[in-house]
């Protein structure tokens, strides 16, 4: 008998069975196995996990089918019984470890609380058990850390605390809902190996939910693919990656950006459209009492972007990559250095003096939900820039229609509002808005990071196509090495505000010289798989 057995699970919003969000899911996990539940947003993968734990929000209480843990149907269990099972037989870790921990309670006590309600141990026994567990998840200096608050820990440490909390009662089932999505790639690799290690130590089963095929290839034994609440297929990991049974899975795999750098494009042009010279940004710690707390967000960053080429700035969170982009856009004021846009140094100009130069350089932001003013028609958003520079309204609107078609949307969409579009469509509109100014340079600040992988692939294709057609220079800010490898000609790696390595993409990503770059590349999940060709790279080389 399987440890966890889900049969024909159906979940509906507010009891509306014609609008199911999970439509007849079957899934079973054996002891000691890791099952990955994969899907894009809206696939119902997190809801399945919450339904298992009995933690669905009230609007989603209409559930049918069965979820059987060790022979007991959880959907029929009383609330008190579910409470007993949680932490002892099944437990869960979440995506964002910062918000998943109570900010005003000490982390050690938050772990200890589990023992308080699920064991008869004395207080001192509980405490030493907690510290043992904290050591088992490889946290340093556990005596000090026991008394720390969540905000004093790093993201990886917080997720380790969550894991310690989840596993302290040795439950047979661990549900991990995107546990590494909010973490940097190097931290992600550590957490993945920790989950593997503890699964082997404790012999528990893991239901691992993720959208990231790279992560799947690292951790899964079996994989179930979901699409909009419907189960597409279940296979062992190797079979799935090599022989996907459905078109959807095949598309999904083909959309995964490969870690192998693109072939170099040798330029028809050598014209530098954007360059910086020792660009630095220092945030002085405000207030009269903390003058010492200066943050050097970016130090001595020098780049040069050639017409028609793409330069990627790659780094983990806090590396300063977005700071550089925002300085270049003059959304924040650089502390020192030069920014040359089409022959003018704009670094120290006043906002008024910058204005004539703004035409040449435009930006696309990360969050498609917030990058368009929800209250005005998208046509108005697109023509805002040209109107500022004196283009007559009619001409600007004609151009807006052309641009919408250029980015693959109907021209008639100009008088629609942002809420009528999907995330990918909005990102296309944001690109059209940037292009309306006929810029030489497009800055893409994590412009595809918030998108599902299949949509991400399409937007990346669009950018490449536009670049070919218009000769744009693109400055592409990303944390994703795969994305960088796929589209960048040159890559700059940043860490703690400094440039670590800068050169041709093939050089930096293919044969890195610096240790940090090597670590980054090694940590990238799924780097051995050539997903698009359904085989490992090792086999391709044969």
């Amino acid at each position: 008998m399987s440890l966890l057995d889900i049969r024909n699970l159906r979940i509906a919003l507010n009891g509306a069975w014609d609008a199911e969000v999970v439509k007849g899911l079957d899934l079973s996990i054996e002891r000691g196995q890791t099952m990955c539940l994969v899907g894009e947003s809206g696939s119902g993968k997190s809801l399945t996990a919450l339904a298992t734990m009995g933690l669905l929000p009230p609007a989603l209480k209409s559930v049918a089918g069965s979820i059987t843990l060790k022979g007991e149907n959880l959907l029929e269990a009383a609330p008190a019984r579910l409470r007993d099972l949680r932490a002892t037989s099944m437990s869960m870790i979440f995506q964002e470890p910062m918000t998943a921990l109570n900010p005003v309670a000490r982390v050690g006590q938050q772990i200890e609380e589990v023992l308080e309600f699920h064991s008869d141990l004395s207080q001192s026994a509980r405490r030493s058990r907690v510290k043992e567990m904290m050591e088992a998840v490889h946290l340093p200096d556990v005596d000090k850390m026991y008394a720390s608050f969540p905000h004093q820990l790093s993201g990886g440490q917080r997720q380790r605390i969550m894991i310690a909390m989840a596993l302290i009662m040795r439950p047979q089932l661990l549900i991990a809902d995107e546990p590494t999505t909010a973490l940097d790639v190097t931290t992600q690799a550590q957490i993945l190996s920790l989950i593997r290690e503890l699964r082997e130590d404790q012999g528990s089963a893991v239901l691992f939910i993720t959208h990231d095929m790279g992560v799947v290839s690292e951790i899964a034994d079996d994989v179930t693919v979901l699409k909009l609440g419907e189960m597409m297929e279940t296979q062992a990991i190797d079979d799935l990656l090599r022989r996907p049974q459905t078109d959807y899975t095949r598309d999904l795999l083909r959309s995964v950006p490969s870690q192998v750098p693109r072939p170099p494009r040798d330029g028809q042009s050598n014209e530098v459209v954007l360059s910086t010279d020792n660009l630095s940004k220092t945030y002085s710690g405000g207030g009269w009492f903390s003058k010492s707390r200066e943050v050097k967000a970016a130090q001595d960053v020098s780049i040069s972007l050639i017409k028609g080429r793409t330069l990627g700035i790659v780094g983990e969170s806090g590396s300063g990559k977005t700071t550089v982009a925002r300085c270049i856009m003059r959304l924040i004021d650089p502390t020192s250095g030069k920014i040359n846009v089409g022959g003018t140094d704009i670094a120290m100009l006043s906002q008024k003096e910058v204005k004539p130069q703004r035409k040449k350089i435009q930006i696309v932001f990360q969050d498609p939900m917030r990058s368009l003013n929800p209250r005005i028609e998208i046509g108005q958003s697109i023509i805002e820039g040209p109107l500022n520079y004196g283009t007559p309204r009619d001409a600007a609107m004609t151009r807006a229609r052309e641009l919408l078609e250029l980015v693959g949307l109907p021209a008639s969409a100009v008088d629609r509002f942002p809420h009528q579009f999907s995330g990918g469509q909005r990102q296309r509109i944001a690109i059209a808005r940037a292009l309306a100014m006929d810029p030489d340079v497009l800055v893409a600040d994590e412009a595809v990071s918030a998108l599902d992988v299949s949509v991400q692939a399409q937007v990346l294709d669009l950018l490449a196509e536009l670049q070919d057609r218009l000769g744009l220079g693109i400055l592409f800010i990303t944390h994703d090495l795969g994305v960088a490898a796929q589209i960048c000609d040159d890559v700059l790696v940043m860490q703690h505000g400094r440039v670590v390595e800068y050169g041709r993409a093939g050089q930096v990503l293919g044969a890195p010289q610096q240790d940090y770059t090597k670590t980054l590349i090694k940590a990238a999940p799924g780097r051995h798989w050539d997903f698009a060709n359904f085989r490992p790279f090792a086999e391709a080389a044969e």
Binding site: M53, L55, L82, R83, D84, L85, R86, A87, T88, S91, M92, F94, E96, T99, A100, L101, N102, P103, V104, A105, E113, V114, F117, H118, F149, H151, Q152, M162, M165, A166, G287, W288, F289, S290
Partner: protein, 314 residues
């Protein structure tokens, strides 16, 4: 942490400065002779001259302001027109009933309102929730004196449980004190219950949707523990913030309640001063009330450090 406290104290000073400046300008911008306003209609020419002297009306306005602030800092709040006594003495005599009423109200309100707000949020959308919401809208809508008169007509005139009016200091016996202060407290408390129950419910609702509450449930903790230890504990900052801001409402409410129940406190002093246009008293009561408000909110700011560990480091 020390830096944070010093910073809060320093930030409170300009606020008080603006209060003083505002009160000062209010008098100076009034058409007519400020000395005549401060002296009242029945003042002799000598009295007027003495007040002019102390105001130094011929000096530049800034000098006048700083001299006045200097006098305030030395405890010189002027002389009451009505009684001819120093204002500071009048205020000292009237403090006790006001402070008693304010304290009993805050204690009673918090005791009732926080549990109400928690239950309303926990049982969102149920009858209990709707009752609490309606109660809180009522509290904001019915003028305090209307509640007061309803209380009097019901509990004093019909049932004769409580006296219609009057005050006994706590020093003369707790029973008597409570018997007399009960109705004014009940009167004033509804507004405050409304305020606190509402913010408790709102912040609980928000926090009950937070990830760490889900984590607490995923740990298999009983609901009571989830609500108290994880949710309510995180609501403490907004709740005490509103208690602090609501103190201005309490002061306004006390003025009215004292007037309804004839309590010899600062509120009555103020109302009597309004009727006789005794501006020095009004001015002093405003300064004092604002000072208390600022100090209370300063203490609350400092209490954040104890309630939220994140503040220490920012």
């Amino acid at each position: 942490m020390f830096g944070y406290i010093v910073q809060r104290i320093l930030a409170a000073i300009p606020v008080m400065g603006f209060v003083a400046l505002f009160v000062f300008l209010l008098l100076r911008l009034t058409p007519g002779d400020p000395a005549a306003i401060l002296a009242g209609d029945t003042a002799t020419p000598e009295q007027l001259e003495a007040i002019r002297e102390s105001l130094g009306l011929n000096d530049p306005i800034f000098t006048q302001f700083f001299r006045w602030v200097g006098q305030l800092l030395q405890g010189d709040f002027g002389t009451s027109i009505l009684s001819g006594k120093p204002v500071i003495e009048l205020i000292g005599d009237r403090m006790e009933p006001t402070i008693s009423l304010a304290l009993t109200t805050i204690i009673l309100s918090v005791t009732i309102a926080v549990p109400l707000g928690v239950v309303a949020a926990w049982k969102q959308g149920t009858l209990i929730d709707r009752f609490v919401m309606l109660l809180s809208v009522l509290g904001f809508s019915v003028p305090v004196f209307v509640i007061g008169y309803l209380m009097i007509s019901l509990f004093s005139m019909e049932l004769k449980w409580f006296p219609v009016q009057g005050f006994r200091p706590i020093g003369e016996g707790l029973g008597d004190f409570l018997h007399r202060i009960a109705l004014p407290t009940f009167t004033l408390t509804l507004l405050y219950i409304a305020l606190i129950a509402r913010i408790t419910r709102t912040s609980m609702l928000e926090i009950l949707g937070d990830d760490y509450v889900r984590t607490a449930r995923a740990k298999g903790l009983p609901e009571s523990r989830v609500l108290m230890r994880h949710a309510l504990r995180n609501c403490s900052v907004p709740i005490i913030t509103v208690i602090g801001i609501g103190f201005a409402l309490i002061i306004s409410g006390v003025v009215v309640t004292e007037s309804v129940f004839n309590l010899p406190g600062l509120g009555r002093l103020t109302v009597d001063a309004v009727l006789s246009r005794d501006y020095p008293v009004i001015q002093a009561v405003i300064l004092l009330a604002s000072l208390i408000y600022v100090v209370i909110n300063l203490l609350i700011d400092i209490a954040y450090v104890l309630l939220d560990p994140r503040i220490r480091y920012t």
